[in-house]
Amino acid sequence: MPPDSPPVAILALQHPTSTPPGLIALFVAFAKISLAGFGGVLVWARRGIVDQRRWMTADEFNETYALCHFLPGPNIVNLSVVFGSRFRGIPGAAAAFTGLLGPPVVIVTILAALYAQFGEIDALRRILAGVSCAAVGLLMSAVFRMMMPLVKRRDLVGLVVLAAVFIAIGLMRQPLAAVLLVAIPLSIAITFAMRKRGAA
């Protein structure tokens, strides 16, 4: 921390949670984060929670997000629940959850109705075809970004597990539940064995 920071800023950084947000503040914060989040909400969640409101330090945010990443379901929905409950219990979780999902669900439902009405219009179909091509590219880049740490670490076991899941789901089109029932215990066992060997 730079020595010339004003004392108020130091206090705010060290005790980002000194004034726990209220229910309305939680709802509004997550609604704003959600509505800003084109193509993924995570970046905006980090900005809103850590940089703008200082409700968490960067490390606290990373730990909370890591927890939400290994829970099933949409990460960011999990994050809203874990975050909200940490400050205000069940009502806090409900406020953050409805803030995150309520406003966009209204918007998406309206878009769904428009699509049902006008989806057959040729110009709209052409636009959507173009958007979905670009969107698939975005998804690919997210996959590559997530793969980079494994490639850099030469994590061969991780890459083999990754490829096995990719083949089972992407090429062989096996049901998700069946693949995961095999892959999750297997991957945990391998990771555990590798760490034990690394520690010994």
């Binding site: 993924g40 829970l71 929905v77 940490r86 918007i107 769904a112 975005l138």
Partner: protein, 178 residues
């Protein structure tokens, strides 16, 4: 299962179950959604699935809201709400309890091991999503080029994704995608 005569119940049971198996976020569940919505229940065609994926990516909010669009197509507003709550509700309850549990015993090493074990799985699932969607969207060489260019630009630059989606939409409107 009376899913044939009550579509809302079919949505709730389908997405409620999927919610608990969707490791690695909403996008990792795309192949399973595609399999269920197109192949198993015949709720929509391949093309419609690619369309709702595009709409979900373009709209604000978490990308998991693709289930809202699928739900609307099956049973209107009730279907949209049912699918959204089924996909987000069970996992939210689980997140609440696990979050409380782990903040109490944060010195255990199991969270780290489980997390490390799940990382390659979730990347593999997302890769499979990208493949399945590329196969449904990229029917021409120009379309495949747009996907490739968008992937490279998003990977190598810090461009806001919205501009790439907009560029795709403009090219589509101009009739280049087909």
């Amino acid at each position: 299962m009376n899913s044939d005569n009550n579509p809302v119940w079919a949505l709730v049971s389908t997405f409620g179950l999927m919610s608990l198996f969707a490791v690695g976020g909403g996008n990792a569940a795309i192949p399973e959604m595609h399999r269920v919505a197109v192949d198993v229940h015949h709720w929509m065609t391949d093309k419609q699935f690619a369309d709702v994926f595009a709409i979900a990516q373009m709209s604000p909010g978490p990308n998991v809201l693709i289930v809202t669009l699928i739900g609307y197509g099956v049973a209107g507003v009730a279907g949209a709400l049912a699918a959204t709550l089924a996909m987000c509700g069970p996992t939210a309850v689980l997140a609440y309890y696990v979050g409380r549990l782990l903040t109490r015993s944060s010195h255990s090493r199991w969270p780290a091991i489980i997390q490390a074990a799940l990382v390659p799985l979730s990347i593999g699932l997302m890769g499979a999503s990208a493949l399945i969607l590329a196969l449904t969207s990229d029917r021409t060489s120009v379309a495949a080029f747009v996907t490739g260019a968008s992937a490279v630009l998003a990977f190598t630059t810090r461009l806001n994704p919205f501009w790439l989606l907009l560029a795709g939409g403009v090219l589509g409107f101009a009739g280049f995608i087909g």
